[in-house]
């Protein structure tokens, strides 16, 4: 399996994703600079977290217009899996690869902490390493993670089982207290219609190594390697 990690000016989780992928793949992913309008054949494109272009204008808005995004959109349409984490998710919604928008957290503050997620769709290359309905502990770290979409879009996401992850408590129960940012329908991550593009606010790459305090994120990367090799 070959993978690449896109690096925008201001990306700061590119190395974290690189390491999680390297550990799962046993080989080095390519690091692709935002100004490159094309890159080699890969089986997975990963768009990392951080503050691309300093979050100026709106989180993800400027990166969505960068040369490399045109190429990513083209490949995504051909079926190449694209994973967007945190700022990566924001970029994917801004570029139209995923529906909806990520607004400022409901309490207006940046938040970095472990949260619990329930896996609700395992028929994607990103989530096939998880048991359906399993509850994961994964960190979030964002200021703009409050997922918004209109009722029609939300109904479509629900009906087509495209909500990959939802915020819950440790027992897998949904509640306002378990939702860290005000996201509608407690959405933490969604896939596109073709199920080859996943965007999620939590950072699976941050808990893929037990010495960092947990490894619930690991199955995403080993699952991807299994699905794409």
């Amino acid at each position: 399996m070959k993978a690449c990690v896109i690096v925008f000016p201001g990306s700061n989780c590119d190395r974290d994703l690189q390491i999680a992928l390297r550990d799962a793949m046993g080989s080095e992913p390519d690091m692709v600079w935002h100004g490159d309008s094309t890159f080699g054949d890969v089986d997975l494109i990963a768009v990392p977290g951080g503050f691309s272009y300093g979050d100026y204008l709106r989180a993800g808005a400027m990166a969505a217009k960068s040369p490399v995004m045109r190429e990513i959109t083209r490949r995504a349409e051909k079926g190449v899996p694209v994973l967007g984490v945190c700022n990566g998710f924001q970029i994917l919604t801004e570029s139209g690869l995923l529906p909806g928008a990520l607004m400022r957290n409901a309490d207006l503050k940046y938040v970095c902490k472990d949260v619990h997620l329930k896996v609700e769709a395992t028929d994607t290359p990103f989530t096939q390493g998880y048991e359906n309905e399993s509850v994961l502990r994964i960190p979030i770290a964002h200021h703009d993670g409050n997922y918004f979409a209109n009722d029609d879009v939300l109904n479509e996401l629900e009906d087509s089982n495209r909500i990959a992850f939802r915020y819950t408590d440790v027992r897998g129960e949904r509640s306002p207290q378990a939702n860290p940012n005000g996201s509608r329908h407690d959405i933490a991550g969604i896939v596109n219609k073709a199920r080859n593009v996943l965007g999620m606010m939590p950072h699976p790459e941050r808990l893929a190594d037990p010495s960092l305090g947990g490894s619930d994120g690991k199955a995403m990367f080993t699952g991807l390697v299994e699905a794409l090799s």
Binding site: P9, A20, F51, G54, V111, C112, A141, P210, S211
Partner: protein
């Protein structure tokens, strides 16, 4: 020389913070009257902030050497060997005055400045910490300042992608008009790729990189060298504005350039901007400097030489390159879309010569200006010893467990989760699970290895006020204990000295006393000072802050997998106290919070005992005979046990050993050189310790969901946690 529109009047000299004597020295050095640009340069170079004129004499007495120290104070940051060809580079710096005037930008640019001090030397920043001190929670400005400072630190640190893993936050009314924002950065470099600031080689190009220069921050260094008055808020225009996005690009571009062979010397533009970086580089290298100000990238029109030289615009660096490498270097900065400008060259004139629009606008001799930098032996008086308070003179509380609840929810001891959850403490994927904020020390793996660094910041200002020498000792000892409690070998410290007006002999006496205490502790614990910063004049309308020598400590864990945290681990583990509990109640948090008294002497620090007990703890962690450890500090023994219960979400049953002081003194006294540890095999551990002459006693076991003290009742971990966690969020969201 060009025209100097402003005549140098006594008022102008005074407004530049130069004394009569200092101005006479200026005339002597120049051999003529300076123009306004030159006067401005003298003013910032000789400001307290840049020249350390009041503190230099005393700072020189601190121990700065050890076999593992590669570079001590005097460079941008201290450098310490961590083996395998790697070094840790770190420093703590204050941004107090700006943070009070404009909390968000003041704190944000404090983080930016300290990051630059560290990556300037070739290190990739690995972690940030910050030590914050605010006024009384009841003061009308405090909430606004907490919100702004925390948002500023987060806004900057989160965006540059450096985890903020630790720090401290306290409240006291002495900080009502002068908050303290002390920011620390810890970075990692290869020992053969460390960069210094000395500029050498006449003819070599001087290059400016980073953001453009604007009119922000002019005279920031002078502002930081005077007291505040009511109209200090009118100084808001002197606070700089930060752009963390540019800083992130600057980090990546500088580190990329440092991987090549282009750089001779490099220095960030911090306080006093282009002036101080130019002077420091030239002075260290023994060369002269010609700068053409027309080539300085400018953000605003019609900037004067005076403004350009004194601007404190952020995210800028000055470098001297090897001739012929300019294009290679320029390509890197262009890739990162940063300004890159050749602004001058080194000369053998020994002068800094500035030209602007075809005219020479300033010409200053470098060595005489640096050598004549004032150094004062300010008069000082030793702090009068306080009277000791006996625990027996204090009425015992009716209910020890209710008192515990009150202490755990008081502003200084309450959880600071509301703060550190606004900081990204995990980015870069090396923050250990047990090294996240809230423990004794932050712990971050040395990237790509099994080693880790432990880091902490500590100070007990109330101790320093009552007895500066003891307080200085205690700050260093507590930092050393916090590192020890994780299993790390303490390496070195950075000291951030925050004090009032040094022209008052009693304030100077606090400074001198704290330095003495720090010195003694550093020597006894093999824990040298490798970098530091001094912030004086923290006074408003004549009222000074508590003396606050913040100590940032760094330690090394050779095997990160052996590090331990402070949370209880397993049901049935034995809880043991190491160290002697005499029940010292003077200056304790208990005395202040429960009795409303801030008096007495601080607990004495026996440095030989500290050393012996700490070395024992570290050996236990190395041998894996203990599985959790927490140093006993503010709030005393019972508070410490409760914090371990909270961190591990497990209860305990303990009992006060016989032959110990009255229950309240035993539970809440703040005797030093103590740790609470947990172990599977208490008997063996205790007999081994006793054989070495170490005071040690069994307290009980980890069990259930309540913290229970025999004969005093119990309280559930959930209740304690609710009380501990709710104060700060409740305060911030009234």
């Amino acid at each position: 020389m060009s025209e100097t529109p402003a005549e140098i009047t006594p008022d102008i000299i005074k407004s530049h913070g130069l004394s009569e004597d200092e101005y006479q020295k200026v005339l002597g050095i120049m051999g003529r009257e300076p123009n306004i640009t030159e006067l401005g340069i003298f003013s910032v170079m000789w400001s307290e902030h840049c020249s350390y004129k009041s503190s230099k004499k005393w700072l020189k007495t601190l121990p700065t050497e050890a076999p593992w120290v590669i570079c001590g104070p005097g460079e941008n940051a201290g450098v310490v060997d961590i083996g395998d060809g790697q070094a840790v580079i770190f420093k703590m710096e204050s941004h107090n005055h700006p943070s009070y005037i404009e909390p968000y930008q003041g704190a944000a640019t404090g983080v930016g400045g300290i990051l630059r001090d560290v990556f300037t030397m070739g290190a990739r920043p690995a972690a940030n910490l910050n030590a914050l001190r605010f006024g009384s929670p009841d003061h009308p400005k405090t909430r606004h300042l907490v919100a702004g400072v925390v948002a500023g630190i987060g806004g900057y640190g989160n965006c540059v992608g450096v985890p903020t893993v630790g720090g401290e936050c306290e409240f006291h009314d002495s900080y009502n008009g002068n908050i303290l924002v002390n920011a620390m950065t810890v970075g990692i470099a290869d020992t053969d790729r460390i960069f210094y600031s000395a500029a050498t080689g006449a003819g070599n190009p001087i290059v400016y990189v980073g953001s453009k220069t604007g009119r922000d921050g002019i005279h920031g260094a002078t502002m930081a060298s005077t007291e505040f008055t009511e109209d200090s808020e009118a100084k808001r225009p002197t606070v700089q504005v930060g752009d963390p996005f540019t800083e992130k690009l600057l980090i990546e571009a500088c580190l990329e350039l440092m991987g090549t062979d282009c750089i001779i010397g490099i220095q960030d533009m911090g306080a006093a901007g282009l002036t101080s970086s130019g002077f420091e580089m030239a002075s260290k290298g023994g060369v002269g400097v010609d700068l053409n100000l027309d080539h300085v990238p400018q953000r605003e029109d019609n900037m004067t030489p005076y403004e350009m030289m004194l601007s404190e615009s952020q995210e800028r660096m000055l470098m001297v390159l090897k001739p012929g490498t300019e294009d290679q270097a320029r390509a890197i900065f262009e890739k990162w879309e940063l300004d890159f400008a050749i602004v001058g060259q080194l000369t053998d004139s020994g002068h800094m010569v500035l030209s602007h629009k075809g005219k020479i606008v300033a010409d200053l001799p470098i060595d005489p200006l640096a050598a004549a930098s004032p150094e004062y032996d300010r008069p000082w008086v030793p702090t009068v010893k306080a009277e000791e308070i006996s625990a027996d003179s204090i009425m015992p509380p009716a209910d020890i467990m209710a008192t515990l609840e009150r202490l755990l929810s008081c502003p200084d001891l309450a959880s600071k989760r509301w703060i550190w959850e606004q900081y990204d403490h995990m980015v870069m994927g090396d923050t250990l699970g047990i090294g996240r904020p809230g423990g004794d020390a932050g712990m971050v793996r040395v990237h790509g290895t099994n080693k880790a660094l432990a880091m902490t910041s500590d100070c007990s200002p109330r101790y320093c006020l009552a007895d500066p020498v003891e307080g200085g000792r205690q700050a260093v000892a507590e930092a050393w204990r916090n590192l020890t409690a994780t299993g790390a070998t303490p390496l070195a410290i950075t000291d951030n000295m925050n004090f009032g007006n040094p022209e008052k002999p009693e304030i100077m006496g606090q400074f001198v006393g704290c330095i003495e205490g720090i010195k003694e502790a550093c020597l006894a614990l093999d824990f040298p000072v490798v970098s530091g910063n001094v912030s004086l004049y923290n006074e408003t309308n004549g009222q000074g802050i508590l003396p606050t020598p913040t100590i940032g400590g760094v330690g090394l864990l050779q095997d990160a997998s052996k590090a331990i945290g402070m949370g209880f681990i397993d049901e049935g583990d034995h809880i043991i106290v190491v160290g002697e509990t005499l029940g010292h109640i003077g200056q304790s948090v208990y005395l202040r919070e429960i009795e409303g008294r801030e008096d007495g002497t601080p607990p004495p620090v026996n440095l030989a005992t500290e050393r012996k007990y700490g070395d024992f703890i570290r050996r236990c962690i190395q041998n894996q005979t203990i599985n959790a450890c927490h140093d006993v500090s503010d709030g005393g023994l019972l508070t410490c046990v409760a914090e371990m219960a909270l961190a591990g979400k497990k209860g305990c049953q303990i009992a006060q050993p016989t032959d110990t002081p009255a229950p309240h003194a035993w539970a809440f006294g703040e005797d030093q050189a103590r740790y609470i540890i947990t172990s599977k095999n208490a008997d063996r551990l205790i007999s081994e310790a006793q054989a070495e002459g170490i005071a040690i006693a069994a307290l009980g076991i980890v069990t259930g969901q309540d913290v229970s003290l025999k004969s005093h009742g119990s309280v559930s971990v959930t209740t304690l946690s609710d009380r501990h966690e709710s104060w700060l969020p409740g305060y911030m969201a009234p």
